[in-house]
């Protein structure tokens, strides 16, 4: 079975403090994992992707995520929040099968508020 749980629907941080957005996943295979960001009234932008290479993945805008198989987690972090980071973040799990068929599940999203 495939599922994604984003543990917080809202996270609020002060500008300049660390960001932690939590994601747990379930898959019967060896999935790829993604984080996307959506700014208000915009489409989804790929932040980063894990595909079974390095467990620590670096993305755009200073974000990174660590894949922990034993904990089935893929938490997103950033050392220092910026006002422009205020957005909604989606964790996504993907399984790719023969013939190119793909099953994808999106988390329900975490809204990040950054307080000046």
């Amino acid at each position: 079975a495939q599922s994604v749980t984003q543990l917080d629907s809202h996270v609020s941080v002060s500008e300049g403090t660390p960001v932690l957005l939590r994601c747990n996943y379930s898959s019967s295979y060896s999935p790829s994992l993604f984080w996307y960001v959506q700014h208000p009234n915009k489409g989804l932008q790929l932040l980063l992707k894990y595909t079974s290479a390095a467990t620590l993945v670096k993305g755009i805008n200073g974000f990174e995520a660590e894949f922990k198989k034993s904990e089935t987690s893929f938490h997103l972090t950033k050392p220092s929040a910026h006002m422009s980071d205020a957005a909604e973040y989606f964790c996504v799990v993907s399984d790719l099968f023969g013939g190119g068929y793909q099953k994808v599940t999106f988390g329900t999203g975490t809204k990040l508020q950054v307080i000046p």
């Binding site: 994604v4 629907s9 790829s32 993604f34 996307y36 915009k42 489409g43 989804l44 932008q45 790929l46 992707k49 595909t51 989606f90 993907s94 790719l96 190119g100 068929y101 793909q102 994808v104 999106f106 988390g107 329900t108 999203g109």
Partner: protein, 114 residues
């Protein structure tokens, strides 16, 4: 934006009317997807296409149909719109390489059904 456009970007319609949303891509990608986004649900797959005239249902396909008569266009039709179909609709593509599973998204269409 991976060369994806969606039209219209905003639409208001009345219950019972048919509505067609268009997704257009310029890079010859094989895989195309339609999702809807609703608060508290993330994105949910409506239909997808793996080639011209090759489509299949997603998890929330009831009340929707799709067509893909040429590689660059993937159309989503609401046969008789209902208020429950008020949502933001996103098109996505997956690049043609078979081993990649990254999807790239269009800007979205905000649909309101009165």
């Amino acid at each position: 934006d991976a060369g994806i456009t969606q039209s219209p970007r905003h639409k208001v319609t009345e219950t019972g009317t048919p509505v067609t949303l268009r997704c257009h891509q310029t890079e010859n990608h094989r895989y195309m997807y339609w999702y809807r986004q609703d608060p508290g649900h993330g994105l949910r797959l409506i239909h997808y296409s793996y080639g011209v005239k090759d489509t299949d249902k997603g998890e929330v396909s009831d009340g929707y149909s799709v067509s893909r008569s040429k590689t660059e266009d993937f159309l989503l039709t609401l046969e008789s719109a209902t208020s429950s179909q008020t949502s933001v609709y996103f098109c996505a593509i997956r690049p043609r390489e078979e081993l990649t599973d990254t999807q790239y998204f269009g800007p979205g269409t905000r649909l309101t059904v009165l």
